[in-house]
Assembly symmetry: C2
Homo-oligomer: 209 residues x 2
DNA sequence: TAATTTATGACAGTCTCTGACAGATGACAA
DNA sequence: TTGTCATCTGTCAGAGACTGTCATAAATTA
């Protein structure tokens, strides 16, 4: 696993510079009030280059949560097949938070920053939900594959949507307080997962009720 | 209940003209490919006037589903308090479809048109979900009021989010086929509601499990 | 009919985002 | 080291969504 070339490293640097510049400007003067020109200037690139890294202004704010969804999908694929769908999804989600916590501290900071931004900015919140739902399709496919469901079976759709909802409500409920570390997130998530577990019949996620 | 004045009638006419022009253009050449200028021209108003009726291009496409949400909220407020939350929400949703069906036929056509458009256009789908979630807050408040929950109780949030998810999955599952009438919608909705009912423990939506 | 309110059109301007082209820079082989 | 090539970047021009402003026209009211 050799170190990537200079070009690749520069690209990563530019990408992070744009993300950090954007998050700071968004926090300081609000999302709508900051222009792409300002972000580009703060990161020392031309406005055109900004759009070579991020398709939209929204993308730069949501790139971290989006990365998280990728991790989640990878983790889900690694869960043992005998695990019921909802349990597998829960563990995959926990793994995302764990992986983040074990990584670089600046990553955690960036993540929390962007998370707070998303919760307090309606436009970004909308975008976040949108991506969550685009991701839902992929989670559904993976669950359907694991369970061997037929393509028009509504159960995988139901299970994944329900799980996504539970996770979202958990995250949202963190919003009023300013969250300093990830453990508060993890705690809320467990709280919601157990509420869901208590509400649902055993075997519901495999159609055996 | 006197007939509104000429000015008010003209406004309603312009509004409907914009909606119809927009929906037709969107269907014919796609949502992104049609410009606001085209819509305004088709409805015989200036582009500036378009924005006096709809804040964004998205709004004109989603105005009908948004109207539906208003109806849903009104219906929910009319449900008897002894009804458990999930049942009350289900009945309110049924009432929306019933009210639509009993109204003008052109309204139903417009509704189905916009519904298909939303499902087939990612940008609009995202916007639709976003409004659904903005509406969620109001539904939560109403359920919390009915049940006398404390403001930081997660249960009303959970119940409403779960219901919204179920309804959404039901609507989405209609997409592949082209829906001609509302009864197909109603049928799918019932299918999903019964799946949810089977999966959940009795009393879950009042915290009595 | 006159006065007032309100809807509309016309115009100018900002911001997001895209295509096209040319110059700069890193990757790689001779 | 040098030359070639692919890729990154800046500059420019432009479309399209959306907003503020002001004058005009139409509806409402006295």
């Amino acid at each position: 696993m050799s170190r990537p070339g200079l070009r690749e490293r520069k690209k990563q640097k530019t990408r992070l510079a744009l993300i950090d510049a954007a998050l700071d400007l968004f926090r300081a003067q609000g999302y709508e009030a900051t222009t792409v020109d300002q972000i580009a200037a703060a990161a020392d690139v031309s406005p055109r280059t900004f759009f070579r890294y991020f398709a939209t202004k929204e993308d730069v704010a949501l790139s971290l949560p989006v990365d998280g969804q990728e991790v989640m999908l990878r983790e889900l694929a690694d869960r043992p097949p005998e695990e019921p769908p909802f349990v597998a999804l829960s563990h995959a989600m926990r793994a995302v938070l764990t992986e983040l916590q074990e990584g670089d501290v600046t990553d955690v900071t960036r993540f929390l920053k962007s998370r707070e931004l998303v919760e307090t900015t309606p436009a970004l919140f909308a975008g976040s939900v949108r991506r969550m739902m685009e991701n839902e399709r992929r989670l559904i496919d993976e669950i359907a594959r694991r369970e061997g469901s037929s393509p028009d079976d509504l159960l995988p759709h139901f299970v994944v949507s329900l799980f996504t909802t539970v996770a979202r409500v958990g995250f949202e409920s963190c919003h009023p307080q300013s969250i300093q570390d990830l453990s508060a997130f993890a705690e809320r998530l467990e709280q919601m997962l157990s509420l869901a577990e208590r509400s649902l019949r055993p075997g519901w996620d495999r159609g055996r009720v």
